[in-house]
C-alpha cells in the first residue's frame, strides 16, 4: 500500500514552492507547508521507523502531536536532534532526517530478532530478571550492553548543542491554548472585549481541525473562512498569536510554560535568531482548547504500516492532498469514520468497507456510508491483519459489543489502508496538571478536564471539553471568553453570527476499545511507542500491578514521549476489564509536565556554561600581570599566590608569608564585606547585634566584633570602625558579606523598626590594601600625606584619614597576620593608584604582594578564625572567643548561647596542631589517638586548616578537637585514610606564634 499526492487541492501546501529533503540519505521532494510525514507519504514512503522493543516496522499512525510511531532524528550541521514527530516536523530545503532504532537499515533490521524472543520483553522483564537473582552480577552487565543497544529510541549526538535559545516572560489576561474552532472563537471574543490575549498553537498554522473540515461557513469553504478570521485576529493589537508553540506546563500562580519553534522550520536562520524560544506566560486565566485526539480500537495485528487513525486520513487528504492509492477500509465504534469515508470517497479514494463493532448504526451514518460507496459491515470486528511492512488485508469476525466476544468464521477483506476510530479523547494534559481528577463522561467514553485546583484558573472549551461539533465548539469558545471578560470588568463582545453547513457525525462511541481474540497469534498493541501490548497489561494486572499508576510503571505503558495520547484509554479499558471494574474506577494516570518533549536547551536558554557573575577587585588586572594564580572565593576572584617562575604553590606562599614576618607585604582586601551603618541609634544597634559593646568605642577607633545567630552559635566576625558619633563602618568576612547584610536588614525591618538606623552595603565602593609586617609603618610614612601614622596618632585599632597619591584614604591599624599592620581603604576608582603608591613606597623594603595562601598561613600561625572554624556549629567558647561576650547587655543570641548542650564538656574546641614527623597535615584529617592507620579508632575532631609554617619551621594546622583545652600537650595522629596519611602530631594552643601579640602592638 502507498499514498500519493492528488494533482489539486491541499489547504496548507503551496504547490509553487517545491522543496527538497532527504530521509535516510535518499532524496525526496515536497511542497512548502508539508510536514515530513505528509511529504514522505506523498512520495509513497510508508515505513518510518522501527519500534522500541521489538523493532517492528512502523508507519505513521496519526497526523499531529499524538503521533506514537513516526519518530525521526533531524541532523543539522552534524547536530542530531532525536525523537521528533515526523507529523510536526515541517520540511525545508536541505532538511536531513533519519529513521530510528534500526540496524543496519530500516528495511533490513537485525534487531527484529527481538520479536522472536518476545517473552524476554514481557511485563516487568527487567525487574524479574536482573533485579532478582542476577542483580549486580556480571551477567547483567554483559546483557545490559546488548539490551540497551537493541531497545530504545533515537540516539543523541555527541557534539554540544550549537543553537541559541532565548527566554521570554509574558503577561496576559487570557492565554488561549489551541487555535482551533473553540480557541479562535475564544481569542476573538476575549480580544474584542478588550482583554490582553495570547493565542498559542503547536501547529504551524492556526485553525486546527478547521483546516481540514469539509463544508462551509457563511457560504465560504471552512478553511478559507478560517484563514480570513485568522487574518482579522492577527491585526488586533491586544492579541498575540504564537504558532509553532506548544504549551507544555501549567504551574503555580497560573504560570504556563511554552516553547515556540522559532526557526526549526527554516533552512537558513537570520543572524541572532534563536532556534526556539521558551515562554513563561503569567495568565490571569487560561482557556484550554487544544482539541481532542482520536484514539484507536486495539486489535491483533494492529501495528502494521497502513493502520492509521481515521481522522488522520482525512487530515492528510484535505491539508496536503495526500491520499491512499489502494482501497481503504475503516474500523469504528462511532460515526467519525463514516464521515471520513465520505470525505475520502469525494476525493476519489476507494473505500471498500466500514467495519463497525455496533450492530445498530444510525440512519445518518448509514446514509454517509451509502454516499461513500463503502460496504457497511456492522456488528463485526477486526481480529487480525496480513502484511509485514505494509497492510494487505484484514480479517473480520462477528462481534458482540456487550460481551466483547468474537464468534463465527473470519472473512478476509483486502485493503491497503485501514482507518481506525475508537472515539475521541479530549486533550486534558494541561488541565490535569493544574486540576483535580478528570471527570468521566460515559457517553463519550472519555475523561473530561477536571476542575482547577485552588489557585488556578482555567476553562476548557470545544473538543478539549468534549464538544462534538463545530457549533458547540464556537459557542463554548465564545461563552468562556465572555465569562472571563465579565469577571475582569469588561463588557463582553457579541459573537459574530456564523452559519455552519457541515455534516457532523456523532462522536459518541460504543464502549469497545479492544478486540481480544484468543485464537489470534498476533500481538495487539496498546502503546505503539513503548511497544506495550494488551497481553502485557493483562499480565501486569495478574501479577498484582493492576492499579493504573502501577501498571504504567511495570509495563512502561503511556510513559513514552507521546504521554500515551492514543494509548491511555485503550490501556485503561484493558486493565478495567481484567479486574472487572469500570474505566473511571481504574482511574487515569496523572499527567505531569512536560505535556510533550521539550529541548533542555530551550529551558536553559541563555543560562548555560558558567552562570556565575565574576566579582573582580579594582586591582584585578594588576594581580594577573604580576603572576597571580586566582582563586574563586565565592563570586570573588582573589589572588591565591603570586608565583615566581619555577615555584611550587608551597614555595610561593612560604616566601610571601616570610616576607610579611621579616619585612613587609601587601594584600588586596577589597573583598571584605563593608557595611555603612548610620543613624542616631547606630551604636545601640551594634550593641544588640554584636556580643561585645560598641557604644563605648571612641570615635576614630575600631573594635573586633563577634556576631551570634539567634540560636547562640557564632555567625561571623570582623572589625567595625567608628567613623563618627552616629556613623560606623562594619567589615565582614568575604564569604558572609551578603548574609550579614541581610541579617542586619531583617533586624531593622522586622525586629527593631524603632531604631533609627540605615545600613548600606558599600563593599563594591571601596578598595582595600592590607600592609603588614615590621616595616609597614615605614611604608606608610613614605607615602601617606595629611596625617601622621606614628604609634600615637595611629595606635592599635586607631583610625586616621589622609591621602595617598593625592587620593583620600581611610587607614585603620588592624592585624590579621599578627604583625604591625594597616588596612588602607580608598574609593574603588582610586584603588589601583593607591596600591601602586604603596608598592613604590615599599620598594626599599622589598614589599611582597601576598595571596590567600600566605594570608591563611599567617592566620593559622596566630590561631585566628575564619569560615573554616565558624562553621555554624561552633560557639564563642569553642573558638576561645568567650572574652568577647559582654555580660552588661542582651544581644542577638545571648539568650540561647548558654544552653546546656552548648556549654557542656567534650565540645569540639579550637586547637593548634603541629606535625612531629615533618610530614604535611591534610585539611579535613581526623584527630585520632591510635598509631595504627588501619585501625584509627574514634575521631576526636578534625583539621580545619593546615599549612607549612615558615615562622615555626614545621607543618601546622588548626583543628576542632573534643575537649581541646584538656588535650593540649597530648600526642595524637592526623589521620587521612583517603590519602594514606597518618601523621604523628602534638596538640598545642591555637596561639602558635607570638602568643602575647608583641609584634602587632609595636
Amino acid at each position: 500500500m502507498t499514498f500519493h499526492r492528488l494533482p489539486t487541492g491541499g489547504t496548507l501546501i503551496d504547490r509553487s514552492r517545491a522543496l527538497s529533503f532527504t530521509f535516510d540519505g535518499k532524496r525526496f521532494s515536497g511542497f512548502a507547508g508539508d510536514t515530513l510525514a505528509s511529504a514522505l507519504l506523498a512520495n509513497g514512503v510508508m515505513l518510518f521507523g522501527r519500534s522500541f522493543k521489538y523493532h517492528r516496522p512502523r508507519g505513521t499512525f496519526a497526523a499531529g502531536s499524538e503521533e506514537p510511531n513516526a519518530l525521526v532524528t533531524l541532523v543539522r550541521n552534524g547536530f542530531r536532534e532525536p525523537n521528533l514527530k515526523a507529523t510536526l516536523v515541517e520540511i525545508f530545503d536541505g532538511l536531513e532526517a533519519e529513521s530510528q532504532n534500526r540496524f543496519p537499515s530500516l528495511n533490513y533490521d537485525l534487531g527484529a530478532v527481538n520479536r522472536l524472543a518476545g517473552r524476554l520483553f514481557s511485563s516487568g522483564f527487567y525487574y524479574k530478571t536482573f533485579m532478582g537473582p542476577f542483580r549486580n552480577t556480571k551477567i547483567w552487565m554483559f546483557c545490559e550492553r546488548f539490551i540497551r543497544k537493541a531497545a530504545g529510541l533515537g540516539k543523541a549526538g555527541l557534539i554540544p548543542d550549537p543553537d541559541r535559545y532565548e527566554r521570554m516572560n509574558a503577561f496576559c489576561d487570557v492565554l488561549v491554548v489551541g487555535a482551533g474552532a473553540a480557541g479562535l472563537k475564544a481569542a476573538q471574543t476575549a480580544a474584542k472585549s478588550g482583554l490582553d490575549v495570547i493565542l498559542a498553537d503547536e501547529n504551524p498554522h492556526a485553525g486546527g481541525a478547521l483546516n481540514y473540515a469539509s463544508g462551509e461557513i457563511n457560504g465560504q469553504a471552512i478553511w478559507a473562512f478560517t484563514a480570513s478570521v485568522i487574518e482579522q485576529l492577527g491585526a488586533l493589537p491586544n492579541l498575540r498569536i504564537l504558532t509553532r508553540t506548544h504549551v507544555w506546563g501549567f504551574y503555580d500562580g497560573n504560570t504556563l510554560a511554552a516553547v515556540e519553534r522559532v526557526a526549526d522550520h527554516k533552512a537558513e536562520r537570520s543572524p541572532g535568531e534563536p532556534r526556539q524560544r521558551h515562554w513563561v506566560i503569567r495568565a490571569k486565566h487560561a482557556i484550554l482548547a487544544a482539541g481532542a485526539s482520536e484514539r484507536p480500537i486495539v486489535f491483533p495485528g494492529n501495528d502494521v504500516p497502513g493502520v492509521m487513525l481515521s481522522d488522520a486520513l482525512v487530515e492528510y487528504a484535505q491539508k496536503f492532498a495526500v491520499v491512499p492509492k489502494g482501497p481503504v477500509a475503516l474500523f469504528a465504534n462511532n460515526d467519525t469514520a463514516f464521515a471520513a469515508a465520505l470525505d475520502l470517497s469525494r476525493l476519489g479514494v476507494t473505500v471498500s468497507a466500514i467495519v463497525d463493532v455496533r450492530r445498530d448504526i444510525s440512519d445518518f451514518a448509514k446514509f454517509l456510508a451509502g454516499r461513500s460507496g463503502a460496504e457497511l459491515i456492522a456488528g463485526q470486528a477486526i481480529v487480525g491483519t496480513e502484511g509485514g511492512k505494509a497492510l494487505k488485508s484484514i480479517s473480520v469476525r462477528p462481534f458482540d459489543a456487550a460481551s466483547g466476544e468474537v464468534s463465527g468464521t473470519a472473512r478476509i477483506i483486502a485493503c491497503e489502508t485501514l482507518g481506525v476510530s475508537g472515539g475521541w479523547s479530549p486533550a486534558i494534559q494541561l488541565a490535569s496538571q493544574a486540576g483535580g481528577r478528570p471527570k468521566w463522561d460515559a457517553r463519550l467514553q472519555a475523561f473530561l478536564p477536571p476542575e482547577p485546583m485552588p489557585g488556578f484558573s482555567f476553562h476548557a472549551a470545544g473538543a478539549a471539553n468534549g464538544a462534538g461539533d463545530l457549533t458547540q465548539a464556537f459557542s463554548e469558545g465564545h461563552s468562556v471568553a465572555a465569562f472571563i471578560a465579565k469577571g475582569l470588568g469588561k463588557k463582553a463582545a457579541k459573537p459574530s453570527p456564523v452559519k455552519i453547513d457541515l455534516d457532523s457525525a456523532d462522536i459518541a462511541p460504543a464502549p469497545v476499545l479492544e478486540i481480544a481474540s484468543s485464537d489470534s497469534k498476533q500481538k495487539a498493541f496498546v502503546d505503539l511507542q513503548a511497544d506495550v501490548t494488551a497481553d502485557d497489561l493483562r499480565q501486569a494486572a495478574q501479577e498484582g500491578f493492576a492499579a493504573s499508576e502501577h501498571a504504567k510503571r511495570y509495563t512502561t505503558w503511556g510513559m513514552a514521549t507521546d504521554q500515551g495520547r492514543t494509548s491511555n484509554l485503550p490501556g485503561l479499558a484493558v486493565l478495567a476489564k481484567a479486574q472487572g471494574i469500570s474505566i473511571p474506577e481504574a482511574g487515569l494516570t496523572k499527567f505531569r509536565p512536560p505535556a510533550s518533549g521539550v529541548a533542555i536547551g530551550a529551558i536553559a536558554a541563555e543560562r548555560f556554561g558558567d552562570l556565575r557573575p565574576y566579582r573582580l577587585t579594582p586591582m584585578h588586572d594588576w594581580h594577573l600581570k604580576n603572576g597571580a594564580t586566582m582563586y574563586a572565593a565565592g563570586l570573588w576572584e582573589r589572588p591565591m599566590i603570586y608565583g615566581k617562575p619555577g615555584e611550587t604553590v608551597e614555595q610561593a606562599y612560604v616566601r610571601e608569608a616570610k616576607a610579611v614576618r621579616e619585612s613587609v607585604g601587601i594584600a588586596d582586601v577589597s573583598t571584605l564585606g563593608k557595611i555603612d551603618i548610620q543613624g542616631p541609634d547606630a551604636a545601640e544597634f551594634l550593641d544588640r547585634v554584636y556580643t561585645n559593646m560598641f557604644s563605648n568605642v571612641p570615635v576614630n577607633k575600631a573594635r573586633y566584633g563577634l556576631m551570634l545567630r539567634e540560636d547562640g552559635f557564632v555567625m561571623d566576625d570582623g572589625t567595625t570602625w567608628r567613623l563618627g558619633e552616629t556613623k560606623f563602618l562594619m567589615t565582614t568576612t568575604t564569604a558572609n558579606a551578603g548574609k550579614v547584610m541581610q541579617h542586619l536588614e531583617y533586624f531593622l525591618d522586622c525586629l527593631w523598626p524603632e531604631l533609627r538606623v540605615h545600613v548600606t552595603s558599600v563593599t563594591d565602593q571601596g578598595a582595600g590594601a592590607a600592609v603588614s609586617g615590621p616595616n609597614a609603618r615605614k611604608v606608610l610614612e613614605a607615602c601617606v600625606t595629611g596625617t601622621d601614622v606614628d604609634a600615637v596618632t595611629l595606635p592599635f585599632m586607631g583610625i586616621a584619614r589622609g591621602s595617598v597619591a593625592g587620593h583620600p584614604v581611610l587607614i585603620c591599624r588592624l592585624s590579621f597576620s599578627g604583625e604591625l599592620a594597616y588596612e588602607v581603604y580608598s574609593g574603588a576608582g582610586h584603588g589601583q593608584k593607591v596600591w601602586n603608591e604603596l608598592l613604590e613606597a615599599g620598594q626599599p623594603y622589598e614589599i611582597a604582594p601576598y595571596g590567600l595562601e600566605a594570608l591563611g598561613t599567617l592566620r593559622i600561625e596566630k590561631g585566628h578564625v575564619t569560615g573554616a572554624e565558624i562553621d555554624g556549629r561552633t560557639t564563642a567558647q569553642d573558638l576561645h572567643l568567650g572574652w568577647m561576650i559582654s555580660k552588661k547587655k542582651p544581644f542577638m543570641g545571648s539568650a540561647m548561647m548558654g544552653r546546656e548542650g552548648l556549654m557542656k564538656e567534650g565540645r569540639l574546641t579550637l586547637t593548634g596542631v603541629q606535625s612531629l614527623s615533618g610530614e604535611a597535615i591534610s585539611g579535613g584529617s581526623h584527630i585520632v589517638l591510635s598509631s595504627d592507620p588501619k585501625a584509627p579508632g574514634a575521631s576526636l575532631g578534625h583539621v580545619t586548616a593546615a599549612c607549612y609554617s615558615p615562622a615555626l619551621g614545621r607543618h601546622i594546622a588548626l583543628a576542632l578537637v573534643a575537649d581541646g583545652n584538656v588535650m593540649i600537650g597530648r600526642r595524637a595522629f592526623a589521620a587521612d585514610p583517603l590519602r594514606g596519611r597518618h601523621v604523628p602530631v602534638e596538640l598545642v594552643s591555637h596561639h602558635m606564634f607570638d602568643p602575647e601579640g608583641r609584634r602587632m602592638y609595636v
Binding site: N169, D252, G253, R282, M453, P454, G455, R688, E710, D711, Q742, E745, Y746, L748, D749, C750, L751, P753, E754, P890, F891, S894, A895, M896, R899
Partner: protein
Amino acid sequence: MRITCPHCGPRDLIEFTYQGDASRVRPDPASEDQEAWNKYVYDRANPRGWHREFWQHHGGCRAHLLVERDTETHEIRSAKFAREARS
C-alpha cells in the same frame, strides 16, 4: 508566584527571599525564659491556608515585606512593609 512590593509593584518570586514566619513573637531580649526562646527560635507551625510571613525584596528595594499568603493556593492577600506593620 508574584508579590506586589509597595515600592516596586508586582514582581516575580525570584526577586524575593523568604525570611520566615512573621507570626512568631520574639521574647524580651533580657528574658531568660528558655521555653519561650526555644519556641521562638525553633517551633514553626506548618499551616495549610493563610500564613503571615516575611519576604525580603532582595532583587529590588531590599525592604522586608509582611506578606499574607495562602500556603495552599499561593494567593497573596496583602503585602506591606514589615517596618510599618510592626511599629
